[in-house]
Symmetry: C2
Subunit: 199 residues, 2 copies
């Protein structure tokens, strides 16, 4: 799998449309997201959006790719190479609440629930997920080589952590469980310390 490029190759217009999509999703939710509502946030016509993205599905797949690039940018800001610290930093990034996050996660859960019916969106969700698991697996494998972790199967360990992350996001939104992200961060810590460091 090729890693997304470091520099953002999107044009200024495309970046502005991606930011408008983020705001429109947070404001209207996924079910009520229209090209019209994105155009309103963008401050231009729907034609100006369709110039860059033929269909709403194209735009949504591009938006998920944009989110992945933003995530990778932040991961690259982590300067330490120590495996435990790098893993902690990834888990912090995946499980920290922030302003506007409830609205964003609510829209994401709606989009994910529709993924079985939308090939382009599901495939981009899968690519994003694959890359995140790849980052987790790599740091766990590196840490095992370095004797910090003792993972028998780094790919399974990465999947285990993603189960905890996705469970937290689902519960935070669908059950309105305000402490789901903190509970998940604690659970991930227990998994790291007892399963990855203790066998």
């Amino acid at each position: 799998m090729a890693a997304p490029s470091d520099g953002d190759e999107r044009s200024d217009a495309e970046q502005a449309i991606m930011q408008a999509t983020y705001r429109a999703l947070c404001e209207h939710g996924y079910a009520n997201l229209t090209i019209h509502s994105i155009a309103e946030e963008y401050g231009k016509s729907t034609a100006a959006i369709h110039y860059h993205y033929d269909t709403k599905d194209d735009l949504l797949a591009a938006f998920l790719s944009y989110l992945l690039d933003k995530f990778i940018d932040r991961v690259h800001e982590v300067e330490t190479t120590a495996p435990r610290e790098r893993l902690d930093s990834l888990l912090d990034r995946l499980l920290t609440d922030r302003e506007g996050y409830p609205e964003f996660l609510t829209a994401m859960l709606e989009m994910r629930a529709q993924a079985p019916y939308n090939d382009a969106v599901r495939e981009q969700f899968q690519r994003n997920d694959e890359y995140t698991r790849y980052l987790l697996k790599t740091v766990i494998a590196d840490g095992t080589d370095a004797g910090v972790f003792a993972a028998e199967d780094p790919a399974h360990a990465a999947e285990a952590l993603m189960l905890i992350v996705d469970g937290a996001r689902n519960r935070y939104v669908s059950l309105d469980e305000k402490n789901a992200l903190e509970e998940a961060r604690e659970t991930a810590k227990e998994y790291v310390e007892h399963v990855l460091m203790d066998e």
Copy 2:
């Protein structure tokens, strides 16, 4: 929290409507679920359904309550009182694939994604979740009293296992990850053996 009654107090008609709702959800998904589609599965008129349930939301909340009762019935079939075996049996029940399960989970994820917009449905999801966590917490606390487990906080341990369960169900549906339930069963086993039995 009062436990749901052991015997099913629903009338024969209500039970038949709940079974018809299950089939309609699996066939049409949540987004396309209508009283009409349930009536077709039920083999009677929509009026026959509205006689028992005023609104679709009432029916959906009743359906979630019905699912909880079915879950509890199966839990009661487990005859062992040994904590580890009881916990394993609960986790097996929460994480075992079965015929028709992909369609059912797909509809459930859609319904959960709409829960932020629907108080009656969200509250029933919360009650179902609360009861499942209560079952997990109780067996973990009993096991800790018996010296089988060493859980510092049984409520958190129950929440940790539910994060893994909900993460698996989400990933199974939204990422089409066929082995998500097995990965989650393995992760739950690791959590039980390394976190609950190892500290």
